[in-house]
Amino acid sequence: MSKRNPEYDFAWCPGCGDFGVRRALQVALENYSTEHEEPQANNIVVAGIGCSGNMVHLVEGDQPFGLHGIHGRALPISFGVKMAKPELNTVVVAGDGDFLSIGAEHIGPAANRNLDVTAVVMDNGVYGLTKGQSSPTTDYGAVTVSTPLGKIETPISPLRHYMSIGVTYIASYYSSKPRVLAKLIQEAMNHRGFSIVHVQSPCTTYNDTYEILKGKPKEGIKGLAYDIPEDHDPTSVQAANDLLDRPGIPLGVIFKYEGKTLQDRYQELQSKAPSKTNEQLLDSYLLKV
């Protein structure tokens, strides 16, 4: 909304990976809406707090609905939104601090429910908005303003975590190719169940990892990121776990499993649930003399 809103006072740093993710999300939302012949207002973007959360104000063109909530709670908010309006497309945008530190407790329940929302996680390995503290994905030993002598915790492996906790669609990508990333996000939106697109989105100010990710092809230096081989079978748990045993950052769909969503399960209960009118409910307490 920034372009039509001069008073909006937030900006990402030049070169921030979140620009690419914003572009990808915008394309995915537009294409998803076109594909399903629905207005943009049928999309809801729920954001947490951090540089990533500001995404919700920066989508251009036709506006989706947005909710810019509190730190770490985008998933439970999206749970409420989704179960209130199951027919609408609900997307969570969050950062590594937001999603994997303060908000980590909500990933398990969302996976257990197979909640039909898509989370786009922007991982820059640092707390950017608060100016450079260590995050759950910051490397062991890394010196940051909050770990001046080096970080003494081992970093979380987000993809393994998603896999072990039962997320039913897991993709990994980086922010540098928005058109490809958009396709993954759109596929995640179309996935029935809990989907996470985990995006390496470098922080040019505090943790610039572009080179580490992509390497220097001209000098023959390989980056950490690699395309997932075409013969990878994402419907296989074994194949997905094998892939995650390889070093590096895989680019593409790691795992997908189509099962019953929370709405499906709830609908099954609805058919056998009691449905009493308010009068009947009161009458069940009648004092019968």
Binding site: H68, P274, S275, L287
Partner: protein
């Protein structure tokens, strides 16, 4: 001695059927046309531990759990030792002679309930043996109990008749023991049955029924004493098209989920107690800031921290008024009776919709599980309000300035017109973050101005001309009212002021407070929370506090209020 009112207490260990006994006796009495109120106290554990459950039976509506006990059924020595001193003059204890013995010659007699129950062929009828003995002591017509038993156990199953016969026999055997013992506590006056339809209901069920009557659609919660039964009620009843109910992983999930649902257009609620309410703090701040309709029920227990999970206290008032950081003052509805729980349940949902924001429904342990027979609410008298929705003519600015002179602009709902960002950061008209002073000023004013829309809660004003007024809140209303009635009857010139809405206060209540000389507030906390909030507004209020985990006894209040009247203000 003829009496209109008896208190019968069953004391022993959790799991001994104490609540079942008090419940059965209360239902039998309610069937016979009496007014009843139960009250239980038990430890926070699955089985065992000292516990008690009592019923007050009266020919007129019961305001509170009473002063003392007329008949104590003590199932073990510990129960006798700890409850015996609560006996009224002329009261009698029935002790469990299969468990312990007491020396000859006291105001008690033993009963072998299990043995007598077995002799009827139904070992499970032991509580009916006790009830028979109790009934004999207060001259309660045994045929009324028979009628209740017949109705309770007529379930269309083989063996119903045998069970009914055995239970009726158990009542007779218990009654004979009391006759042989030669005690009498008094004679319960004949009932004066009300001419209206009644329901028998607890506070938690009543507020659930009320909220549902106002159109509640979305409930998620997390188990916590004494709010769990609201979750259980909803899981059993809030079904049907467009509704959703679910147990989530924490109170943090609960508040954020109902916030998402409220944003998406649903009438949403959760219920919790102190510790869970503390976890909801940040979410409540977001609901206030982003202006999302939702209801949080806080069923108070003793605090702080884990505190006293199964005891009565009114110590969450501060936190309910100001649950989050920043400039916030929440609307708070605090019902004081079971009937008020129903109507406040409905009004809390309506308030949230009307002013597009969060509402706190402040209940308490003293109401949650207390059973009472009340008039069946007339659903046609319950209004069901829904938030106004944004329409094509609106300028589509969700967070426009608002000074109260026009209707509150409609709220856009996802999937409809007026896309905006519901934002917990300070924001502009369409919800984008801005830190400019003019936006913070105009939206802070908007958020507080909206509170003016909240009226229609029950209040009571009586005899306030002399300027000394008693103003209880929540469940302390019951004992305070009885104390007030006794003081008036003894010639004290004292006024009565009561409001279910603690914030915002009704204008009529504020007018009384404006001219009051002294306001005496009985409340179950150490800090004197309500009186201090009243003093903050400039009203001359002082508290009578109690922090025992138990409700006030009317007799104690009579004494302490009289002291305050004569001694003068001691703020």
């Amino acid at each position: 001695m003829d009496k209109q009112d008896f208190v019968i207490r069953f004391a022993g260990e959790g799991g001994q059927g104490l609540v079942t006994s008090a419940d059965a006796l209360s239902r039998a009495a309610a069937h016979a046309g009496y007014f009843v109120q139960t009250h239980s106290t038990f430890p926070s554990q699955i089985m065992g531990g000292p516990a008690s459950s009592q019923v007050r039976i009266s020919t007129t509506p019961v305001l509170n759990s009473g002063d003392g006990v007329d008949v104590l059924v003590a199932l073990n020595q510990y129960a006798y030792d700890h409850h015996h001193q609560d006996l009224n003059v002329g009261g009698v204890t029935i002790y469990n002679a299969e468990e312990y013995e007491l020396p000859d010659g006291g105001d008690y007699f033993g009963i072998r309930a299990d043995e007598l129950a077995k002799s009827t062929g139904n070992a499970r009828a032991a509580n009916m043996v006790s009830i028979g003995a109790v009934a004999n002591l207060i001259d309660f017509d045994l045929r009324q109990i028979d009628a209740f038993i017949t109705q309770r156990f007529t379930r269309g199953r083989d063996g119903d008749d045998e069970i009914i016969e055995a239970n009726i026999k158990a009542v007779r055997l218990g009654s004979e023991v009391a006759t042989d013992a030669g005690f009498k506590v008094g004679k319960l006056l004949a009932p004066d049955p009300p001419d209206y339809e009644q329901i028998v209901v607890t506070g938690n069920a009543a507020l659930s029924l009320g909220a549902t009557a106002a159109g509640l659609e979305f409930y998620v919660g997390y188990p916590i004493s004494p709010a769990t039964t609201v979750l259980i009620w909803m899981e059993n009843n809030l079904w049907g098209e467009g509704r959703f109910v679910h147990q989530v992983a924490s109170e943090i999930e609960a508040i954020n989920a109902i916030l998402g649902a409220g944003f998406a257009g649903k009438k949403s609620m959760t219920a919790t107690a102190g510790p869970g309410f503390s976890l909801m703090s940040e979410g409540l701040g977001l609901a206030w800031m982003a202006e999302i309709p939702l209801v949080v029920v806080d069923v108070q227990r003793g605090g702080p921290a884990t505190g006293l999970p199964t005891k009565s206290e009114q110590s969450d008032l501060y936190t309910c008024m100001h649950p989050a950081h920043g400039d916030i003052k929440m609307p708070v509805l605090a019902p004081g009776t079971i009937e008020e729980c129903f109507y406040a349940g409905a009004l809390s949902v309506n308030w949230a919709e009307r002013y597009q924001g969060p509402v706190i429904l402040l209940s308490e342990f003293g109401l949650a599980e207390r059973g009472e027979n009340i008039r069946r609410p007339d659903l046609s008298s319950i209004s069901t309000e829904s938030r106004t929705l944004v329409n094509q003519e609106d300028n589509g600015k969700r967070y426009d300035s608002w000074d109260g002179t026009t209707p509150l602009p409609g709220m856009p709902i996802p999937g409809g017109p007026g896309a905006y960002v519901a934002n917990g950061s300070e924001h502009d008209e369409i919800g984008d973050t801005t830190h400019l002073p003019r936006h913070h000023i105009r939206l802070t004013q908007r958020r507080f101005k909206k509170l003016d829309l909240l009226n229609g809660a029950h209040y009571e004003i009586e005899n306030v001309d002399d300027g000394v007024i008693i103003m209880p809140w929540g469940s302390s209303k019951g004992p305070a009212r009885e104390a007030y009635d006794r003081l008036r009857a003894s010639g004290e010139n004292i006024g009565w002021l009561y409001s279910v809405a603690l914030h915002p206060l009704p204008d009529e209540v504020k007018q009384v407070l404006d001219s009051a000389r002294k306001i005496i507030v009985p409340e179950l906390n150490y800090l004197g929370q309500w009186s201090s909030l009243l003093r903050q507004e400039g009203y001359p209020a002082e508290s009578i506090t109690q922090y025992t985990g138990l409700p006030f006894r009317p007799a104690d209040l009579v004494v302490s209020i009289r002291e305050r009247i004569t001694v003068g203000a001691t703020v």
